[in-house]
Symmetry: C2
Subunit: 179 residues, 2 copies
DNA sequence: CATAACATGTAATGAGTTACATGATTAA
DNA sequence: TTAATCATGTAACTCATTACATGTTATG
């Protein structure tokens, strides 16, 4: 149940429409949560029905831009949620299942798949490093900047782990082909 | 759609019942895919209906142990799937949403939540390191062992990243309380 | 023969994805 | 005035979670 709270957070930072939020998810929010525009519109309606956000203009305006902002009740709900305990999400990556399957029934031809994913992670890493260079100085930081930097840093670490893992996977898979 | 393939992989490695598979998921499979027994039973029925696995005894035996094994068609499906291209799963962690929300509306009281999750990751890391010491030697490895080690190593790296991130988060959150 | 442990399942709900539908605004 | 872009939404489906229901086997 984090999507509504990711939306509340983003709207607290700055009011915006469904499509604007979808774009924020694609850009910056993407490295800690992801969602499609369909999900976002559905969730915004729900949040408005629950009285946590309002929109302007209120009219049933299909096709016309509708800007949402957070109500006091929404802010309160967000505070409550932040302080709530929560389990860690399970690590669930099909690539690891593929590698285990490869061990069981291989050799198969999965080098290209690995190589493509490796490239994808390298691209993301580069993108995040650009964000970091652009948005964060080495100066003493306030808490907001420190938290934002930490979140981006998490994305960077995540990409680095996968680059390491996939590079190693490629080595193993290519070795077995050479035999 | 990785659960059926995680099941096929595990059953190729060794035939087993639903509950046995659930236990494997809790133990070793947990660091690359997770599932509950309800999901597992449902998926096993589906796989059997599709002719990818069989079970003994076939009888509609509620309460009696039923051991599944993979049919040639199941093995073939697994090979096909392993070689199939696949996008990276998005990074989706409620803790990062919490940290971003904390930046927007904080300070709130989320230190305990962070501390608890930190402890959970430290416990997991220790567990994985025990597995590693127990199951893998430093000897020259064959491909199966190398792949299994890589998967475990991925879990270890993952835990380490979160330990770093949460330690840093704790520092930031405690600093702001001191002000 | 009672009870704990083992074993398999159903039902309801929630969350996420994919495909599709439609209206409004702007610029060529 | 037509096409592109902006913008909002519906519907159907799959996957995962939670709560519950029930039968079997071993053992004291």
């Amino acid at each position: 149940m984090s999507l509504p709270h990711a939306l509340l957070t983003s709207l607290v930072e700055r009011p915006g429409s469904g499509l604007e939020l979808a774009r924020r998810f694609e850009k910056s929010i993407g490295y800690y949560w992801s969602a499609t525009h369909q999900q976002i519109y559905r969730e915004l309606s729900k949040l408005e029905k629950e009285g946590l956000i309002t929109s302007e203009p209120e009219a049933d305006a299909r096709g016309r831009k509708r800007v949402y902002e957070v109500l006091p009740a929404g802010r309160e709900e967000l505070v409550q949620w932040v302080e709530r305990e929560d389990d860690r999400p399970p690590l669930r990556d099909a690539m690891l299942v593929r590698l285990r399957a490869e061990a069981a029934i291989g050799p198969t031809h999965l080098q290209d798949t690995i190589r493509n994913r490796l490239k994808a992670h390298e691209r993301k890493l580069e993108e995040y490093q650009m964000f970091k260079a652009r948005d964060f100085s080495d100066d003493p930081e306030n808490r907001v900047e420190a938290l934002h930097r930490l979140i981006l840093e998490t994305g960077i670490k995540h990409e680095r782990v996968w680059i390491e893992v996939l590079s190693e996977a490629l080595k193993i898979v290519m070795l077995e082909d050479a035999q």
